[in-house]
Amino acid sequence: MSSISPQEIKQEFLKSKSGIIGITILSTLVILSIITIVIIPIETFQEWNNPSSWISYPKIAIPVWVNFLMIEKIPEHQILEDPHIQTNVEGRILSTTHQFGVNFEYDEFPNDFIYEFTAKYSESPLLQITVFRPDGIELELISTSLPFSNSETIHTERVFSTDELIKKKIMLQSELFEFDLNKLSTESIVFSKIQNNIPLKGNYIFSVNLHSVNSENSIPESKLIIGGKAFGIMGTDELRRDLAVGLLWGTPLALFIGLVVSIASVIMGLLYGVYAGFKGKKTDETMMRFNDVIYALPVLPFLIILSVTISNSIFVMIGFLMIFGWVGIAKVSRSMSLQIKTRGYVDAARMMGQSDSKIIFKHIIPQLLPYAFASIAISVPAAITTEAGLSFLGLGDPSFPTWGQILHDANTFGAAARGLWWWIMPPGVMVAMTGLAFVFIGNALDTIVNPKLKR
């Protein structure tokens, strides 16, 4: 091992193809995680395991971009929160109208539709929902009065497409359709052609009217959900969670875990090994025995026992991974420091009366730095996959959902058996890509540090 200057390393590194690929992937991941941290509020992510915060999302929806590859378009899940609002006064009747435009260009019926609203009123206003279809037909869905109240009240309700009132209302208008409406669900009637039961494409307008007599009314919150089978860039899982959020937030977490574990364990191993090698004799012997003991412990069973009995907090987990990470590096850096120790300038420094710590930090460790960087890069993937593995077994920290935990959920809900590829593929690909970036970088550094491998 000859000493190489940082400039040389940089030059050599830029020459190696794998090094550049590694750096490119890594910087993409870093940019991705910065964007994630800035754009996606941390609250969404902390609510990951809280089912109620995902209620308006669809179940196991396929990613939206699949539609570009398909001839038969899958209905997208649409959450419309921005209605066109009108208020009218006709004599004593005051009406508020919220209109939602729905562009429906798919070859399958939606799963359902839900109108979610919060109304502010007094007495008992009338709620009417009407659909204006692309073929000009006006279909009345519901006409019901809201619960009576003397004073001004705030009322929140969800109107589901499965509502009996809607069914009855549609059956009353059954003469509009040329086929039998019995046993058909509401959404497959509303979005159907008249002649036969296939989806009618075009622009629909859902119009919500609230009529009240002699009193003010308003709908401060109003949301129409057209339940589809496709949603978001990454789709959703069984618990209606948007997988894109989990995947994106997993990136900074994985990088954090990988880097902290590998940097800390390399520093620990380096100092331990160098000190043992430098001191030699009895100290070396005892320190290396201790090293052997840790080396002989079965890592994974121990990690599992530790996380079950002590805590599954992510920070504790990082600590455990460090405990097992430094051993190999300590061994190598010890043998390296044994070689360096015999060199003339170390002897000279010792004769000049320099303290041990100064010799170690000024003369030995700088020599080992290239090796240290290479081993940091190489040990990152191991840390990430080990964490992912533990999470996969269900031992992850529930407040920090990682890629491994997404895969754990996928496995418990039988995603492989049900063909939910968008739930299995992306997290694994992300784990692999992150690992790959560091392996590439590590390998490029390794060939520079150990020239013997180059040929």
Binding site: S18, D292, V293, A296, L297, P298, V299, L300, P301, F302, I304, I305, L306, V308, T309, I310, P381, T385, A388, G389, F392, L393, G394, L407, A410, N411, A415, A416, A417, G419, W421, I424, M425, P427, G428, V431, A432, T434, G435, L436, F438, V439, F440, N443, K452, L453, R455
Partner: protein, 338 residues
């Protein structure tokens, strides 16, 4: 060696000891209560509820003292006793899990599962090492060729994929999309059936393929790197100049010299694979040690956890020891230097 084993055991016991005590104590309480409930005469002989409760409490305390549970788990007596029992492979009885034949003796459970894990992972490791040595030798003889590049890049790529994820993909592809192999690796016929071994082998294919695919790349890469180092040594160059044919040099002379590190890694990876089996077996539902371990942890079946950790550690240490011996045998330089 022995010291390491004892330290591992000590740590395990220290980690699970306090939990074990609570569970055992609860167990005795339930036992005493059911015994009394089964015998209504005892309950009738007391005049008041309080008196009866006192009696029950008394019984429980007596039982706890008999079992030695009154001392904390970290008292030297109890640790010594536990360690002694474990050394004799007496792990006690499992709290929840049973073996396929219904025995709750931890020793039975472990010795029922162990052969299956060894079967799967030893077969896998042997296949991996054969492919790996062959590919490694091939690519080292033609450095820079297409084979060499493919092997190296495959090694790098495959090493960053988690085995269990590939496992999930394989199940997805070959068990559900194309229904070639079963998804669950546990055969559904009882182990007494004559066709059991055949079924077991058939169910073993998918995990085996997965492990081999992930494993052989890095093996080939390692072997290649050893070989490259050896091919640069003087005696090989001398042989080349004499005119011995390249193939013969690579497969006999060079490979022989690369044997010691290869064998060490073989021994280590054999035992290492047993530890890594936990996740792989959980994915494929292979009825071996790894799944046993995982199940034991999910239900906190402590005797099983301790027993399995012990057996895994023993295997690991024995293989390290064997690797050391083999290294000395194959590389005489080690013997003379000591």
């Amino acid at each position: 060696m022995f010291g390491v084993l004892m330290i591992t055991l000590l740590i395990t016991i220290a980690l699970v000891g306090s939990n074990m005590d609570t569970i055992l104590k609860q167990g005795t309480v339930i036992q005493v209560r059911t015994e009394i409930a089964e015998n209504p005469a005892i309950a009738e002989s007391f005049s008041s509820v309080k008196e009866f409760e006192d009696f029950v409490q008394n019984q429980i305390e007596q039982r706890i003292i008999i079992l030695g549970l009154d001392e904390p788990w970290h008292s030297p007596q109890r640790i010594g006793f536990t360690m002694y029992k474990i050394l004799l492979l007496d792990f006690g009885h499992a709290t929840f899990l049973t073996s396929d034949s219904g025995s709750s003796d931890v020793k039975d459970i472990i010795f029922e599962k162990l052969p299956r894990t060894i079967l799967l992972f030893t077969t896998a490791t042997i296949i991996i090492s054969i492919i790996g040595i062959f590919l490694g030798a091939l690519s080292s003889s033609k450095i820079g060729s297409i084979i060499d590049r493919i092997t190296s890049s495959f090694a790098i790529i495959s090493s960053s994929f988690p085995v269990w994820w590939i496992g999930m993909l394989m199940i997805f592809l070959f068990a559900f999309t194309y229904q070639i192999f079963p998804a669950r690796a546990t055969p559904d016929i009882p182990s007494s059936d004559p066709g059991y071994i055949g079924a077991l082998l058939y169910h073993m294919t998918l995990p085996l393929i997965t492990i081999v695919i992930i494993g052989f790349g890095s093996w080939a890469y390692l072997v290649r790197n050893f070989m490259v180092g050896i091919m640069q040594e003087d005696f090989i160059i001398a042989k080349k100049t004499i005119g011995i044919n390249q193939k013969k040099i690579v497969y006999t002379h060079a490979l022989k010299n690369a044997a010691p590190p290869i064998i060490t890694i073989l021994a280590l990876s054999l035992s290492g694979s047993l530890g890594g089996a936990i996740i792989t077996e959980a994915v494929f539902d292979w009825p071996g040690m790894g799944r046993l371990y995982f199940e034991a942890i999910t239900v906190m079946d402590l005797p099983v956890i301790i027993g399995a950790t012990y057996i895994l550690t023993v295997f690991f240490l024995v293989s390290i020891f064997i690797a050391d011996l083999l290294y000395g045998y194959f590389d005489p330089r080690i013997r003379t230097s000591q």
